[in-house]
Subunit: 215 residues, 3 copies
């Protein structure tokens, strides 16, 4: 009994949802409702992601679109690089590719300096200066699984996400490198103030399975 | 003196058995006796495994068969992917291949959601939905080293295991990701309630060496 | 409130500058002012560095030159090896290459034994004996980003640094392996007595962005 109590104390288990996109479709996606408007002059976006997609294939990882614009898209590019786009041309990073074993992925951006970076399993990429002074527009939709070419619609199966996404959190500021490293190694040090995966509501459309996993 | 005692306390050495299958045969295998019947609606199966087999070669990693059915088989497929089969068609995972350096391998499955995944050295694969609602049948035999095409018999050397297997544990529930990561990094946080490698009885048939190793 | 205080206490955040060299130039560089003259019979030089440069390309990582001599240059060589040069022929180390995800890099040298080594993310290279009895000359200039072929001038774009450098510290003695390992894993155990990145003055020339990052 005491041993068991000891055991439960030292390993705190957190149960979270995980999204499984099993097949390539132009119809399956998940919409997420943010805790505050996405009028952002800085952000940190993190997720755990695994995919068996390989070869020359674009993969959408996160899409935020208002009626008129793609406000914030995160992609794996055709050549395997990771990128994000704020309303126009994007910025690409030669970060070793996503793969079939789960990666902890973050992207950070700060409008005041334009500094942006990817973090793969806690390791930071080269910083790149991108869209200094820009602010994203609020009142759009956040989708996982598909890239909308209009306001929630016109999906292209060849850009869809296939694999598993979980533990997506988003903040309206830039987290410290140490905090990101701690999260990558499994410590639950903070949850997002725009998206908090443990409490966020997921609106499932099409063939997306929601499974539970224990971290 | 005190320093030494301190040292011994912090590094606990566990001595376990390890199975060495030195050559390709259709006759060598090890039978394991479970602690409870394998009537499973969920499981976690872990082992440490190394093999110099390479190229296009099926390799059986774990076989549980009742008189009529292959209930649970774990394979490395011809193309290097890992897979498992519950009484019929299986589910395949593009997990980087087993090799000559020892890997810590786990597979998890939960009937209620159908969620299944492989873990390679603590890193989780894409989850896949498989055999939701299924339960395995009890009163079969568990074999390592050979795939029985009948109830313990009709072995095919070209599917046999060659290499080393140790520290195989099995649970009738799904362990948390953190627990699996801890085991992969060498922490002895829990042992199986179906197979507990430190106490399990091994019935050796043919040319299988049992060696001791210290973890 | 208390939770927040707790949180801030356990994760001490250090804010530092980071240098981003976005494009290949023969004009952009940063000059650093040392805290004491670089008349050195031993040193440890550490930095965090990431670069997307790949293929056959020399990359200057650190240059200290007096009017007449290249006193201390650290390079990535054409073939990817790391090296340093003390006024003449250098010493090369087959250390796995710098890349697009940030590495913590140190180089140590001690004149009395001639022992020198690189450390990549806390892992030590083979030691090599180099320039026993040598001392570097003081009163030169320290540059990041370019290799001067004269006293601050004659830069070659094909040797320039492109990427990000931060957290550069230098000591006039050899740090212990454990201290270097601790720094690589993010602990702020010591800062340099020749260059202390948290307080050093950076003189920017050309297109170098200075961004803030939180460790």
């Amino acid at each position: 009994m005491e041993h068991s109590a000891q055991f439960n104390k030292s390993i705190k288990i957190v149960s979270i949802k995980s999204l499984v996109f099993s097949t390539e479709t132009s119809t399956s996606y998940v919409e997420m409702t943010p805790l505050k408007p996405l009028s952002l002059s800085a952000f940190t976006l993190c997720m755990r992601v695994a995919t068996e997609l390989s070869g020359e294939r674009e993969v959408i990882l996160f899409a935020y679109r208002t009626r008129e614009y793609d406000e914030l898209n995160v992609w794996r590019e055709l050549d395997g690089r990771l990128s994000f786009y704020l309303a126009g041309d994007g910025v690409l990073f030669s970060v070793p590719g996503l793969g079939p074993l789960e990666s902890h992925l973050c992207v950070t951006w700060d409008s005041s300096s334009g500094a942006s970076a990817f973090f793969m399993n806690g390791r930071k990429s080269v910083a790149k200066i991108y869209k200094k002074g820009h602010t994203t527009r609020p009142e759009g939709k956040v989708l996982l699984g598909q890239d909308p070419d209009s306001y929630v619609g016109e999906f292209d199966a060849k850009q869809s996400f296939v694999g598993e996404i979980s533990d997506l959190n988003m903040w309206d500021y830039v987290l410290s490198d140490t905090t990101i490293k701690d999260m990558a190694s499994g410590k639950r040090v903070t949850t997002g103030n725009i998206f908090d995966w443990e409490s966020t509501r997921l609106h499932i459309h099409g063939a997306v399975d929601v499974v539970k996993r224990e971290l």
